[in-house]
Symmetry: D2
Subunit: 343 residues, 4 copies
Amino acid sequence: MAESIRVGLLGAGRIGKLHGGNLAGRLPGARLVAVADVRLEAAQELAAALGIEQAYEDPRRVLEDPSIDAVVVCTSTDTHAPLIEAAAQAGKQIFCEKPIDLDLARIDHALGVVAESGVTLQVGFNRRFDPSFARARELVAGGTLGEPHLLRITSRDPAPPPIEYVKVSGGLFVDMAIHDLDMARFLIGQPVEEVYATGAVLVDPAIGEAGDIDTALTTLRFAGGALGAIDNSRRAVYGYDQRIEVFCSEGAVVVGNEVAHQATVLAAEGTRGAPLEYFFLERYMESYLREMEAFIRALQEGTAPPAGGADGRAAVVLAYAAKRSLDEHRPVAPHEVDPGGAA
Amino acid sequence: MAESIRVGLLGAGRIGKLHGGNLAGRLPGARLVAVADVRLEAAQELAAALGIEQAYEDPRRVLEDPSIDAVVVCTSTDTHAPLIEAAAQAGKQIFCEKPIDLDLARIDHALGVVAESGVTLQVGFNRRFDPSFARARELVAGGTLGEPHLLRITSRDPAPPPIEYVKVSGGLFVDMAIHDLDMARFLIGQPVEEVYATGAVLVDPAIGEAGDIDTALTTLRFAGGALGAIDNSRRAVYGYDQRIEVFCSEGAVVVGNEVAHQATVLAAEGTRGAPLEYFFLERYMESYLREMEAFIRALQEGTAPPAGGADGRAAVVLAYAAKRSLDEHRPVAPHEVDPGGAA
Amino acid sequence: MAESIRVGLLGAGRIGKLHGGNLAGRLPGARLVAVADVRLEAAQELAAALGIEQAYEDPRRVLEDPSIDAVVVCTSTDTHAPLIEAAAQAGKQIFCEKPIDLDLARIDHALGVVAESGVTLQVGFNRRFDPSFARARELVAGGTLGEPHLLRITSRDPAPPPIEYVKVSGGLFVDMAIHDLDMARFLIGQPVEEVYATGAVLVDPAIGEAGDIDTALTTLRFAGGALGAIDNSRRAVYGYDQRIEVFCSEGAVVVGNEVAHQATVLAAEGTRGAPLEYFFLERYMESYLREMEAFIRALQEGTAPPAGGADGRAAVVLAYAAKRSLDEHRPVAPHEVDPGGAA
Amino acid sequence: MAESIRVGLLGAGRIGKLHGGNLAGRLPGARLVAVADVRLEAAQELAAALGIEQAYEDPRRVLEDPSIDAVVVCTSTDTHAPLIEAAAQAGKQIFCEKPIDLDLARIDHALGVVAESGVTLQVGFNRRFDPSFARARELVAGGTLGEPHLLRITSRDPAPPPIEYVKVSGGLFVDMAIHDLDMARFLIGQPVEEVYATGAVLVDPAIGEAGDIDTALTTLRFAGGALGAIDNSRRAVYGYDQRIEVFCSEGAVVVGNEVAHQATVLAAEGTRGAPLEYFFLERYMESYLREMEAFIRALQEGTAPPAGGADGRAAVVLAYAAKRSLDEHRPVAPHEVDPGGAA
């Protein structure tokens, strides 16, 4: 077995704890050695639970430790770009939660620093590692289903975020549909040539007053001719609804929801199935482990990470195209919002 | 029990045979007494199989028979409007297969004659009577699911029709999506305010050469704010794919495909479920019986038929709006193609 | 097309109406020409609804009509054996609802008369014609699943019959499990060598007071070594529960329940599937049509019927073996209750 | 938060690694501090991967460490009883993989030592902690389904163990069905009064030559009258098949198989679902985490463990009753094989 990759964790919040637990107990190729968090107590608590000795307030303590090979960035979004840049300059391999940033120029700057430094950057598009979605991608990419014709993505949250969050979120497309736009790119494997978005405020008028929508239907046209539809809602009362379907010339692959258990009740009032997994931490639990495995493996084997900076950037471009389509009530090509790029 | 409704059947083709069998053996309130078909032999064969004495070549023989209360029109589309008019003028109650016609002016003329004569006209939107779709409609209309937010319809045929048929069909929206557009109206129960359609030729280039598309994704915006997406393909290699979903503020109703049987095979190479029902005659078998039951009941009780002339007209208008959206590459409001009407 | 088989229907009750409707409108090879019922009014009503001219009180009127080729016996059980004998002596082909009789000696006598007369006798084991069960049988018999190892049958009624019926029914094994015992023979295609039955009174103490049980678990050992378990209950509050499973060396086939529709509701309180089909008329609707098609086809082609007198007899033998096993609290071989026969 | 429970792991094989990973990264209330294995290298490798400092060859090193609160016994079956006794005498809390032993006298001796020492002993009946089975138990125990009437357990392995293992395994009932017999006790919550077992050699004649069976159907009668059937096979070519069903007076709960993913393929040759989870490590992954959580929680709260020594003993008794039933070809009461006990 190769020497373990020594990892420092930046951010000990909800997602940091999840990655930390995986690194400590379930990934033999990695060894978690340090945790930093702006709340020192949070770093210390997580370190204690995982049997780790180093706990810091300042992430620079981790970046300056020459024994550490890689960092996992789980801090707040606004710190992603500067931490990516600092880590790259310190020669650390980087796993960063999505999004890199909400601003294309800042993304480009950070990706430039990464490119110069030569380190690996993997962006946390964890859904790509979900066993079901990965299987769907594999089937489509492998060609056994023929050419893709139609894509359907249903992505609905169990409840909207607090209205204060909505106000600074960048809007439904950048904040929520961005995952689905990445999934669309991942599944079809072709550039998106046109986006048409419709939206409505049906869940909570306060969301509309904050200048956002809570319900959306986004149509995509891919370079190869395939058509796609993404539907989003900020509130599905029955739980986190995450389904995809790729219809191809020789067959289709359909991914239904994960459920909390397999127990079905047959009663006089009807058949009652298990509820859906509650939210992303439950639904995508396995994907978080698998994406970290993939990151560690990429480092060990010196291969490109399965979701890199360009993917992180492309999804942001598509989200801005959807936003403009909604605003201008017409189909929009991605290059209209990103004259120099390619989605 | 009320006196049986005496019915004459016009058209002894595939769909005529189906309605004839239902009228002869499964609808106690109706009695099939005559069959007419331009191929006299077809009329005679069906009459013999069903134990009916009267078989004619000329539909007028049926219309002139004063003992006959109602006619069921299953002839070719171009004869629908004239037969509706003739039947109405003869005072017969009318069940007519869809579409009434492909031309709005001819539809309007036929509906005018029906209105004047005072007879009942039911249009054969059989899918509305499918037990699953009817249950979905009932749930949405009953309000237990709250307000509709999102609608999804998947409607894919097992194989495209002959190219000669495609050429005269009026195009995918009028010929195929029209059923789904009616279903959208039926399920949501609100006028459609805007249609945006995208399409592609991915199944067969000959369809493109004939000026049509074979794959489409149509977005609808309803008066109450709900958004809908219909996806169509002329060829699903795995069979006739007919699913709908209505997502509402308090829950969702999802209708999956009917399958040919309930036998699932577990084998080393995986789990293999039953194939889908082959095509519309198999998939919608039950709905044909139920729509005829509803027609007979409407006649017996003197109530309005559950799918009338206005419904037949509205679906045609939406199909033309979709076609224009595709042609002009922009969202289109139904009144743009039907200045005087309302979809 | 061959000349239609002319059929007389004996019995215009629930099951008679069902077969009558199928014969009148859905089976082109047959023509229903007469109906008899001890309640003349019932015969007349059904004849009127189906457009049939002959309606009688006395079944002999049908048996004496030389233009009639075949009879369908849907009268009460105690009249089955004498009507089979009379019909056979009149040279009519016979379809008879199950059971032939509850008494082995009377069964043997009736089968003897049929054999002498040379007419065809099909027994109404309709479940064999259910598309799902037939598919399971086809898979097992075709050998693609290898050798059968384990069989599971779940068969539960929605509600127990009236206690007066229970008292004269012959008991749960003869009255209810007999269908499942036939299904076991049909699916595995091997003689049963041993039966072990356990039972309990859990649904209604009155059933116990009537000397019967309402819950049973019956184990079968087949000649080839396969083992089977049948579970029965007189009351499943959630509806008619009819499932089978054959586990074989190279795979398994599992048949789940039919449901009333495909609409699933997702709501805050969980996922709610469609209820099961209510009872046998709904659940096995399709099988009744198919068994009658098979009967007509056997007559037209002069082949053996797919479920004959020997099958009817064998299921009764197994039911008596189960009863003795329960009474004597030990495994019982069928030949113990039928020294001269073979199940 | 309470002080973490300090845990020593005995055995670093397949199941030891699993428990070790859970203790290191996913159970904040526990802290893994030492690993012992007869293969020192295995202990060292696991310790390195989990960031643990102490790795030993001799389990006594762990038992003698006064800083260690509890041990998790994952060694070979024959060492379970002596390690339980030694750990109890050292005052360690004990989690021990099943079975305690195959010999009732040795089990009784070990349980006696545990009782004297006053430590907690939890036996690794992990399936009780499977979210689906736990949900089923909760529904039955909670009474919302009424009284249990029928139980069905399907438990089939993907492939038989090596024939050398079969020879020393104690036979199918003790080695394999024991899990299902515990599940039956767990789900119904009533003593078993009678067992009737049938068996066959259908998978591999070598298993028969080794004096064992590979296919079994076991019938149970519970004290409250409920009946149960367990079917077992040593080889299901389609994977690990683990289903249960409890049918009660007011409804039923049915637990289907877990699948490897949710991606279903629709293709011309039919619908293809995901394969089953491969074997117990995959299928019961979640249950292993939950059982260890329950053990830690029981220690922290000073409550009785959810599966204790008496449960471990009772399942062995039932397995021996099944074995005798098969041998003597008659129903057997558990007290016949355990005159002093109660199953």
